[in-house]
């Protein structure tokens, strides 16, 4: 187990190198020119060269890349071109906000969707199942953007059920996060319930289900005790790896609900060529992804005794 973890951690090195190379290539060779954006209209050529050298952008590419690697190792991605703030600080502030926006609805959604999928799977083949399936596909067919606009307009503005937007630190943030959370849950419902349902239906065909029934177990027990734990294996892989991306928040949500998370930060960074932010965020996410992948595998072994990590 320890050996496995060490090996997996070691394997992160080539992955992260790859990510670094990819991000570096994408954003250094192209994309917005941060210097131009910072200096705006009518910058003098000298000013441009000056800022370029100040930001280290005039160095040969390989040296810039080496610098980047150094940053990865030291976890110090420097300051945002845009605002001069340290990336670690930006990330620390934003990540928490983004997570508070995305994590609770994510967890709720997993619970809710798994339960709903179980109920739908329980009534498989019935009218209810068909109706539910149709409903979920319908829900999936509408663009995320439309949900945000419509929910905000109708629920928050017309019916006054939620604040229109905004954010405050700490627990005062909760009221502001409810509506975005509901949208996140709503949007996740369609694809997730359908996916979980398929997983459950696959499991229902298994022999051990027949055994459980022949023992005299009632259908709910079959579903919740026998099938659920087996189905958790694919569900885990599906969900746990999504967690690191939750840190990115949901940029559209953040824009429309004025939540100062990382998603919006990232989009703005793309639009202004803010390399330090982009590089930092990507590496944080990539590391997070690798670690959560590892966690998934460990959980996997925990849920499925057949899996041995070595």
């Amino acid at each position: 187990m320890v050996g496995y973890i060490i090996r997996r951690l070691l394997y992160m090195i080539p992955i992260l190198l790859g990510v670094a190379l990819l991000v570096f290539t994408l954003f250094t060779t192209v994309g917005e020119d941060p210097v131009r954006i910072a200096l705006g209209n009518h910058a003098s050529p000298e000013a441009i060269t000056e800022l370029r050298s100040k930001w280290g952008l005039n160095q040969p590419l390989h040296l810039q890349f080496l610098d980047f690697l150094k940053q990865i190792i030291t976890f110090d991605y420097g300051r945002s071109f845009n605002t001069g703030e340290k990336l670690s600080a930006l990330f620390a502030q934003g990540a928490l906000v983004s997570l508070s926006l995305t994590l609770p609805p994510f967890l709720l959604a997993v619970m809710l969707n798994v339960s709903m999928a179980l109920v739908v799977a329980y009534y498989r083949g019935s009218i209810f199942d068909r109706f539910a399936t149709a409903f979920f596909i319908m829900a999936m067919s509408i663009s995320y953007l439309v949900y945000i606009i419509a929910f905000q307009y109708i629920l928050a503005f017309q019916f006054d059920l939620f604040p229109i937007n905004g954010y405050e630190a700490g627990f005062r943030a909760i009221p502001y996060l409810v509506l975005p959370g509901i949208i996140i849950i709503f949007v996740s419902m369609g694809p997730d319930v359908r996916m979980y349902r398929t997983v459950f239906l696959d499991e229902i065909k298994s022999d051990y289900v027949r055994t459980a029934r022949s023992k005299g177990a009632a259908e709910p027990r079959v579903l919740f005790k026998h099938i659920l734990k087996n189905a958790m294996i694919p569900i885990l892989t599906y969900t746990v790896v999504a967690i690191p991306f939750l840190v990115l928040g949901a940029f559209l949500m953040e824009r429309f609900f004025s939540i100062p998370g990382i998603g919006d930060l990232m989009i703005n960074a793309i639009n202004t060529g803010d390399f330090p932010v982009l590089k930092g965020l990507t590496m944080y996410i990539a590391i997070g992804y690798s670690i959560f992948n590892l966690i998934t595998d460990i959980l996997y072994a925990y849920v499925d005794p057949r899996v041995k990590l070595d």
């Binding site: 298994s206 022999d207 051990y208 027949r210 055994t211 459980a212 029934r213 022949s214 023992k215 005299g216 177990a217 009632a218 005790k225 026998h226 734990k229 087996n230 849920v303 499925d304 005794p305 057949r306």
Partner: protein
């Protein structure tokens, strides 16, 4: 021991709705299981033997199967009239079942102990501790070495033979009256099969359980059965005591089955007595006797109506026009 009939299956008809139409894998099957005895149901794949057993377990409604008619009387009550809850109470307690593939039949993510204890949880009011002790005792009973350790292990950590022992322990946990064993040794190696059959026999003697033993392996039938039912394409075509069947098979299909097994006297210079053709598809059954297309004795009459079971002795019945006539003659 009294030759009392414990389970009486009467004219059972089971149908399935499929994409390609309706099929009837069990088409009017009747047999009796005697207390403490073993009834073997023999037949090749698709003959309806497994569907029959699932019907007895009450596991057929659901999916797309439907019991069309007949009765399954257990202890004088018709199980087909039981509610879902009543049936559930019976399953695992009075009637238990073991399956062919012990690997997939056991839930891979729960420990052996957990799975056996579940039976007690479902059917007996017991504390966890009691259930544990009972389960442990069951493992000892099925001669699993180091049972305490095994209780904590998962199915994949056990060998095939051990897993089947666990299945047996689980099915016998509540000391059922009827045990349905659906090809319990088919997936096992011969030496292990011998162990398991031996164990089952011992336990049956101990507990007085009646067993419905479903298999396609005639060798195994000869080894374990008291009574035998031979099925073909959803029909029972012959039944009798094990001696009736092996010593004096009446139906050409039963004869053919026995003949097609290579015997110690056979060498490859002699052709095996194979049954020609293949089992008809349930979607496309022949008129009349379902075996007629493969039957060496088939006559025109065989295509007109399907033969009924006819008594050859007190214990022996077969459904064949030709044999009946020859016998009468």
């Amino acid at each position: 021991m009294a030759q009392e009939v414990l389970l009486n299956v009467e004219n059972l008809v089971v149908s399935f709705d499929t994409d390609r139409g309706k099929i009837t894998p069990v088409n009017g099957v009747s047999f009796q299981v005697k207390r403490g005895k073993t009834l073997a149901i023999v037949g090749e794949s698709g003959c309806g033997k497994s569907v029959t057993s699932l019907s007895i377990m009450g596991l057929i409604p659901g999916a797309n199967g439907k019991i069309e008619g007949g009765a399954i009387e257990y202890d004088g009550q018709d199980l087909l009239k039981f509610s879902g809850t009543q049936m559930r109470k019976l399953r695992g307690d009075k009637i238990a079942m073991i399956f062919q593939e012990p690997m997939t039949a056991l839930n891979p993510v729960y420990t052996i102990g957990n799975q056996i204890m579940e039976v007690y949880k479902l059917h007996r009011e017991m504390s966890k501790k009691e259930a544990f002790d009972h389960a442990l005792a069951m493992l000892e009973k099925v001669k699993i070495p180091d049972p305490k350790q095994r209780m904590r292990e998962y199915p994949h950590q056990l060998s095939g033979g051990m897993r089947q022992r666990v299945m047996i322990a689980m099915s016998l946990a509540c000391n059922p009256d009827v045990l349905i064993a659906d090809e319990p040794t088919t997936a096992l190696d011969v030496t292990i099969q011998a162990q398991v059959l031996d164990l089952m026999k011992d336990l049956q003697t101990d507990l007085g359980t009646s067993v419905i033993f479903i298999t396609h392996d005639l060798g195994v039938v000869a080894e374990v059965a008291d009574d035998v039912v031979v099925m073909y394409a959803g029909d029972i075509i012959e039944r009798g005591t094990v001696f009736d069947i092996f010593k004096d098979p009446k139906h050409p299909y039963t004869q053919g089955l026995l003949d097609s097994l290579p015997k110690s006297s056979d060498t490859k210079n002699e052709e095996l007595q194979a049954i020609k053709g293949m089992v008809p598809s349930l979607f496309d059954l022949p008129q009349g006797c379902r075996f007629k297309d493969r039957c060496a004795l088939a006559e025109e009459a065989c295509g007109e109506s399907s033969p009924e079971l006819e008594k050859f002795s007190d214990t022996h019945e077969a459904a064949c026009f030709v044999t009946s006539r020859n016998n009468a003659a």
